[in-house]
């Protein structure tokens, strides 16, 4: 089998392993390792890469936010802070069916905007918000779908690391990209709000009964320690006072101290919080390691290059090519994280797209294509049956299988696809702020 055929065959194989209940990280690790071994004719390359790559994948300042934010989530939950947060949110929007879910989407978007990684966002929100949503009467599947979808919003809201990388790869102005992504980002949030409203109308049993109004003042007042910490973390990162990693550390320390002072975090509680952080962090990092190996194999097999050549060979019109590329990203999103997808494919697809005539100026095409790609890349992270965000959140909650979230998440995906079509048809939505 040629290297290229191996590259394409790896995809269904990976899905088959995952459906056969293989741990996701292990499936990617095994397919990547086997693919590289077959493609090079010997295991030497895999063995040599593993000498440094497991260490260098984990040894990352930016990824340090993941265990730190997870720890913060643990402290916030044990100290009753997430409950206070949701009680206050419930007091304000709980009388509205689906109100809490909408508040969670907003919180995910805000958190994702500062944290820069949809995986870390999904994990943190999954830990903080999932138990509270379920406590408020939401079904596990709908809660997971809401949080997974909410986690994808941050990428469009500056500061977005993935946007910066896209700008570099396509030589596009970063400030213009940030500006262009803003409106589609708000549109996405609004779309999710509509989806939640429609879904709970259709499935009233998915959301808890509306809560009585009242007690807003008291609930909000009880919130002040959490509010102070969140303001410090989010404000600090937005204002450039600290990096996301520093924000995560300050947040973990702050919630830890508040929980301890409130009596919610004794010695046993601290041990449990650390062990829970350990399980969740190891799960996420093992997926990242598997993804690194599998991505290396796809690059080695030159799958994106060949795909690009194949698409050019078809001689299709510009919009058909764009459509094919977007579908490809949706598929890739099943098994890759957003940053690796962008790094691997944009250098190959961008020249292809830049050569097509969409009736836009060159620089505008880059901005428009960037926003579209970012959206579909993130949609890929939540589309069933395979979506990294879904898996991560479900893995945090043993009672909810990923399949329970498939139905509700399709509603969110539908709103995403509607938005993509809208932006394809009317590039002006992306470009008009420029």
């Amino acid at each position: 089998m040629s290297t290229l055929a191996l590259g394409f065959a790896s995809f269904p194989l990976l899905l088959a392993l995952i459906f056969a209940r293989a741990p996701i990280g292990l499936a990617m690790f095994a397919v990547g390792a086997a693919g590289l071994t077959l493609a090079t004719g010997s295991p030497a390359m895999v063995l040599a890469r593993l000498k440094t790559e497991s260490f260098s994948t984990f040894s990352s300042y930016s990824l340090a936010v993941i265990p730190m934010f997870l720890l913060m989530g643990q402290f916030a939950t044990r100290g009753g802070m997430s409950r206070a947060l949701f009680r206050a949110a419930g007091a304000w929007v709980g009388h509205w069916r689906g109100g809490l879910a909408m508040a969670s989407v907003a919180a995910s978007a805000g958190f994702g905007a500062i944290c820069g990684s949809s995986l870390a966002t999904a994990a943190t929100m999954g830990q903080v918000a999932l138990p509270e949503l379920k406590r408020a009467g939401y079904t596990g599947g709908f809660s997971v779908a809401t949080l997974a979808a909410g986690g994808t919003l941050g990428i469009l809201i500056p500061p977005s690391v993935v946007l910066v990388i896209y700008a570099i790869l396509t030589e596009t102005n970063i400030a213009r990209l940030f500006l262009a992504a803003l409106l589609p980002g708000l549109l996405a949030a609004a779309g999710y709000g509509v989806v939640i409203a429609l879904y709970v109308r259709r499935h009233p049993e998915a959301a808890g009964a509306p809560q009585p109004r009242g007690g807003r003042g008291r609930a909000t007042l009880a919130l002040w320690p959490v509010a102070a910490i969140f303001a410090l973390v989010v404000g600090g990162i937005w204002g450039g006072w600290f990096t996301p990693t520093e924000g995560a550390a300050v947040g973990a320390a702050g919630t830890g101290l508040v929980a301890w002072a409130g009596g919610g975090l004794g010695r046993a509680g601290l041990v449990e919080a650390l062990l829970e952080t350990a399980r969740a962090s190891a799960m996420i990092f093992f997926i990242l390691l598997g993804a690194a190996l599998y991505n290396g194999f796809l690059a080695f097999a030159r799958v994106p290059q060949e795909l690009s050549a194949f698409v050019v060979g078809l001689g299709l019109g510009p919009f058909a090519v764009l459509g094919l590329i977007l579908v490809f990203y949706l598929a890739l999103g099943c098994v890759m994280d957003s940053l690796s997808m962008i790094l691997l494919t944009i250098p190959i697809f961008w020249p292809l797209v830049a050569g097509l005539d969409f009736g836009l100026a060159g620089a505008d095409t880059a901005v428009w294509f960037g926003v579209l790609v970012l959206i579909v890349v993130e949609v890929g992270l939540v589309t069933p049956p395979v979506g990294m965000n879904l898996f991560v959140i479900c893995a945090l909650d043993r009672e909810t299988p990923a399949s329970a979230a498939y139905g509700p998440v399709l509603w969110f995906v539908a709103s995403d696809l509607a938005r993509v079509l809208l932006l394809v048809a009317f590039p002006g939505i992306v470009l008009f702020l420029l």
């Binding site: 990280g25 593993l50 497991s54 260490f55 040894s59 990352s60 300042y61 320390a253 650390l274 893995a395």
Partner: protein, 156 residues
């Protein structure tokens, strides 16, 4: 085994808490320096320490995640299979995890000796990189041990 995995996870947790404290001290030092207080500043080479520390933290967390089967899986398509088939699948993947962990630990050990020979250090503190590799190798070896035990024990 549980004691070993939990103990190592707690060691990793302690390192994580130390990193959190170090980063907070750095933020505080920086804030004080901005207020114009002499003698304060961020922790020297905090960036390097986080990079080295978080790698060990993750490796130290791996055994517990394995023991408690915390790794993300998809159960949709296997839900209808008989219990025995599912048990066999889980045993098979536990063996796969064990093989992966053994492979990782073995290669990391090779990486450790390569880094020790090359003399590579960090940028500022000139900490030999192989020290961090060695600590991670030890943790990965425990992960390999725990994963193997987990795959072979009676209850899958």
């Amino acid at each position: 085994m549980r004691g070993l995995a939990q103990g190592l996870a707690l060691v990793g947790g302690a390192v994580l808490l130390a990193l959190v404290a170090m980063v907070c001290a750095s933020v505080a030092g920086n804030a004080l320096a901005r207020l114009g207080l002499a003698g304060f500043g961020p922790v020297r080479a905090g960036y390097e320490l986080v990079e080295l520390g978080v790698a060990f933290v993750v490796f130290a967390f791996l055994p517990l995640a394995q023991l408690d089967r915390a790794h993300a899986t998809v159960e949709v398509f296997t839900a209808r299979l008989p219990a025995r088939a599912n048990a066999a699948l889980m045993r098979f993947w536990a063996l796969g995890m064990a093989a992966a962990m053994v492979l990782i630990a073995w290669r990391l050990g090779a990486g450790t000796s390569a880094k020790a020979r090359s003399g590579e250090t960090t940028f500022l503190l000139a900490i030999p990189v192989w020290w961090a590799y060695a600590a991670c190798t030890a943790a990965a070896a425990v992960a390999a041990l725990v994963a193997t035990w987990d795959a072979l024990r009676a209850r899958p």
